[in-house]
Symmetry: C2
Subunit: 169 residues, 2 copies
């Protein structure tokens, strides 16, 4: 299957189309030819919009991601969540502390293995997450508006080629 890429429709508004800014006269050398450079800029822009969308709920992209994974996998163990979120299990601890202190997530002692905790969304957590997901869908729509549905799929496909499925080599 072949996917086509639609070019932007000639400047959304007006001056917005210019690709420079404060440092217009400063050359970037080979930087602008590096995929990593463009990925980083895109990441900054996308995350900034995400924070703008979710700031009111005091949820960072990372915390939001944890809530989503816990919701999708009730009873998940901390180590499993850490793996899924690509965090060290020690990194997960303060994040869960934060979510638990806000009564969004609950650590329940696992019945079968007393070393483990099962993770669950609280009622409050489920409510907040529902709100957050609405905000995130709006955010996604906003940034995807620059692309259109076809190009969005293409972009994701190309990005996934850079990150080999998420395996740890």
């Amino acid at each position: 299957m072949i996917t086509t890429v639609r070019r932007r429709a000639r400047a959304t508004a007006g001056p917005t189309a210019r690709g420079d800014g404060a440092g217009a006269t400063v050359g970037l050398g080979m930087l602008a030819e590096l995929i990593g450079y463009h990925v980083r800029l895109a990441q900054m822009a996308v995350f900034a919009d995400f924070e703008r969308a979710l700031g009111a709920l005091s949820l960072s992209p990372g915390l939001f991601g944890l809530l989503v994974i816990v919701e999708a996998n009730p009873g998940l163990r901390q180590t499993q969540l850490a793996d899924a979120a690509r965090l060290d299990r020690s990194t997960l601890v303060p994040a869960l502390d934060k979510l638990e202190s806000r009564d969004l997530v609950e650590r329940r002692a696992a019945p079968d293995d007393r070393r483990s905790n099962g993770l669950f969304l609280t009622a409050q957590g489920a409510t907040l997450l529902a709100q957050a997901k609405r905000a995130v869908r709006a955010h996604e729509k906003r940034i995807a508006a620059e692309l259109g549905e076809g190009d969005r799929a293409t972009l994701i496909e190309l990005l996934d080629r850079l990150a080999p499925g998420g395996r740890r080599p």
Copy 2:
């Protein structure tokens, strides 16, 4: 102009093609549908390869970027460099301290404005940067190998649509 995207040629090696890993059974909920999620994974993969390529020279992507910009703009002022690199000028100070302590960059008092410093690569800085650029080109070739030249250009074009030219709104 229409750009076509070539799909990957049926698994480079073998098991590498599988898209899961340790947390195979853990669902990600809506996460996998978010552009930001894929951008983040790509960013992590690309930066990890960059660090692997440049680690021997003890250059992070950030420091490498600063050297490249200084090389392309000899005599640049700190504030200008900060703008070009999208850093606060206070953030730039310790970075330049690091580069200067390693004798890679020099702050020269500007003749016309005694508040300002002009930034220059030292001879050592130029030598190291030349090495680094070779390593970065190899790195770029490596990650672009997953794409091919056409898809590489497409990816960059799509990413740039997410980051509005780099302007600060």
